[in-house]
Amino acid sequence: MAADSNISPEDFDYISKLVRDHSAIVLDRGKEYLVESRLWPLINSEGLSGIGELVKKLRTPSANKLHEKVVDAMTTNETSFFRDFHPFEALKKVVVPEIMKNRAAERSFTIWCGASSSGQEPYSILMMLRENFPALASWKFKFIASDISREMLDRCREGSYSQLEINRGLPAPYLVKYFQRNGMQWQIKDEVRKLVDFREMNLAADWPFLPQLDIVMMRNVLIYFDVEIKKAILGKIRKFLRPDGYLFLGAAETTMNLDESFVRVQLSQSGCYRLRNP
């Protein structure tokens, strides 16, 4: 794995430290491949010859914008519509109906996507909700989506995707119903876009106020943090998650050994987490 790497240990450590200082994301030795693949597009667009030259440039005093771009490139998460498929089925078949039943009197529903990346996850959930739970339209419905990257949030708010992106995981009937062409791209219609409150947020730093949450989506983002930060994040989620609420992590992630207040629930082919009953 590391053997084929074109990145020198010094350069890797430099980038590792830069990313860690600005986002608390941990890139251990062994993640060289990730650094290379994420930074190649930036290296090309800056007209550089490789990671070595990039780091050289980063070390110069005037390189601020470049630092931001490197952090951005390393912290974005590859995502797609209805990624992994099963969690959305679990939401549709079990989680949302159950929460709606529990909230029937207050008619309020709040969801938070904690790593919205380019927006496919929040928009997938919204499309699924509009298709299957039209009653929510008359509820007090709040959908918060946050990300550390301002650039990603701009992408989210714009809601435009390439042909490659809409080809992946998105049911064709949803494409027809919820998208419109925007030049060469496909854009989520206003009626869906305006439902999301996109916010800039660093999971590893202080959190702004969050309302009580029915569903938290935190998929494939904890993997970037070290154990202490993971624990801190789960501890904060615990404060905001309603006692009967649900937390979704990525398929390979777990709260085990991190936070004993969560218990795993298996739903169809997807696992998720709830607060353990006192």
Binding site: N167, R168, P173, L175
Partner: protein, 105 residues
């Protein structure tokens, strides 16, 4: 690609040939349909299949270079279940199979 995924695969060069094959084989679970074909194009094929209630369960997925919204709408209205724009990868096909409730062979 589909054989790798474990499916039994038939092919046809145009819509009419495809209909003939379908008649021969009797029941086919899924067709990947190109749009632009001679003799009978993909849209006509979809219409022909959907006109026959014997094939109600058959899944029809367009796989085509046609990428205008109006084309997607036409295909779905004619009865196609899914739509893939070329170029595509194996991952894209697998994800679409999932969406149509088809597990790998």
């Amino acid at each position: 690609m589909l054989k790798e995924l474990g499916f039994e695969v038939y092919d046809a060069g145009d819509g009419k040939q495809a209909l003939d094959r379908l008649k021969e084989v009797g029941k086919i679970d899924l067709a990947l349909v190109d749009w632009n074909m001679p003799v009978m194009n993909g849209l006509e094929f979809v219409c022909a299949v959907r006109a026959n209630p014997d094939h109600n369960d058959m899944r029809l997925m367009m796989v085509t270079t046609e990428t205008e919204m109006s084309q997607v709408v036409k295909a779905l209205e004619a009865g196609a279940n899914e739509y893939v724009m070329k170029p595509f990868t194996k991952d894209i096909i697998v994800e679409k199979l999932n969406l149509m409730g088809i597990s790998q062979g």
